[in-house]
C-alpha cells in the first residue's frame, strides 16, 4: 500500500490516492485533501463530509451522491456546486473514504 504525504501528514492510499485507512483521517487532513483538489472547505462542505464519515462505518461503504442528498437534505445541485463535476468521488476523497461503488 503506497504511503503519501498530504501537507505535513503521512497517510496510506490506494493507487489513485484515496485513503485506505479510515482512522488515519481527521478534519485537519480533510482540509488538506480538499486543498489538493482545489476545494476550500466551508461549513456547507463540512456538512456533507461529516455525513459521509458518520455513514461509512454504519453502512460499510461510501454513500452515493443520492444518499448524501437524501439523508442530509442538501440538494443535488448544491453538491455539484460545492464539489464541481465529480461530486461523489471528490466527497469520498476529502472524507478519506473509498470511491462509492453504488450506481445511483
Amino acid at each position: 500500500m503506497p504511503v503519501t504525504t498530504i501537507g505535513p501528514i503521512q497517510v496510506h492510499v490506494d493507487a489513485e490516492g484515496f485513503l485506505t485507512d479510515y482512522d488515519e483521517w481527521d478534519e485537519r487532513l480533510g482540509t488538506e485533501l480538499a486543498a489538493q483538489i482545489g476545494i476550500e472547505m466551508t461549513p456547507a462542505h463540512w456538512q456533507a463530509i461529516r455525513f459521509l464519515r458518520a455513514d461509512y462505518p454504519e453502512q460499510g461503504e461510501t454513500a452515493t451522491l443520492r444518499r448524501v442528498s437524501t439523508l442530509t437534505g442538501i440538494p443535488i445541485k448544491t453538491l455539484f456546486d460545492l464539489f464541481p463535476k465529480k461530486p461523489a468521488k471528490k466527497m469520498a476523497y476529502i472524507a478519506g473514504l473509498p470511491k462509492p461503488r453504488g450506481c445511483v
Binding site: 504511503v3 490516492g17 483538489i37 451522491l65 443520492r66 455539484f80 464541481p84 463535476k85 465529480k86 453504488g102
Partner: protein
C-alpha cells in the same frame, strides 16, 4: 522517511479541465425495465462531469409524459430472461404483479422512481428533449410533458445539439 517526503503526493486525477466529452442517449422504449438503463447511464455520466442529453422518442415518450411517467410497466411477455413460462405472462393481472415486484426491488436498492430520477438528472445538469414527431403523433404538447423538458425538437435538432457526442440508443 526523508526520501518519501520529497516524493510527489499521490492525488487522484479528477480531470477537471474541460474534456468536451458529451453523451447523447436516445430513449425509445416505454417499459419500466427499459426506462432505467438510460436514466442510470445519464446519471453516471453526469456524476463524471460529462455533458449529457437525453432524447425521448416513440414509446420512450412515456418516460416524460406526466400522465404516464409514474406508471410505467414491466411485462414478462416476450422476455425470456424472467425464466418463467411465457404463457404465465399473458394471464390477467400478471403485468401488474410483475411491475409491482420490480418497483419494489428497485426501491429496495435505493434507486429512485422514474419521476424522481428525472429530477435528479436535471439537478445534476442533464438536458431532457422530447421528439417532435412523437409529440405530433400522440397529440401531446409541452403542457403534457415533465416540466424540466427543455423543448420538443426534431431529430435533426437533436443531432445538431449533440455534435461530437458519444451516442446510445436504448
Amino acid at each position: 522517511m526523508t526520501t518519501m517526503s520529497t516524493a510527489p503526493a499521490i492525488i487522484p486525477s479528477f480531470d477537471d479541465a474541460e474534456t468536451g466529452r458529451k453523451l447523447a442517449i436516445i430513449c425509445s422504449k416505454g417499459n419500466l425495465d427499459m426506462a432505467y438503463p438510460g436514466l442510470i447511464l445519464a446519471n453516471a455520466a453526469l456524476g463524471e462531469g460529462v455533458e449529457t442529453h437525453l432524447f425521448f422518442t416513440f414509446w420512450g415518450f412515456d418516460i416524460i409524459t406526466k400522465s404516464h411517467m409514474a406508471e410505467l410497466k414491466f411485462t414478462m411477455l416476450g422476455n425470456t430472461a424472467t425464466h418463467l413460462p411465457q404463457g404465465l405472462g399473458g394471464l390477467p393481472g400478471m403485468t401488474a404483479m410483475a411491475t409491482h415486484k420490480m418497483k419494489k426491488q428497485i426501491a429496495e436498492i435505493g434507486v429512485p422512481t422514474v419521476p424522481e430520477f428525472l429530477e435528479q438528472i436535471v439537478a445534476s445538469g442533464g438536458h431532457l428533449w422530447a421528439c417532435r414527431m412523437s409529440a405530433d403523433m400522440m397529440h401531446l404538447d409541452e403542457d403534457d410533458l415533465y416540466d424540466a423538458v427543455e423543448g420538443i425538437i426534431s431529430a435533426a435538432d437533436f443531432i445538431e445539439k449533440t455534435d461530437g457526442a458519444q451516442l446510445l440508443f436504448i
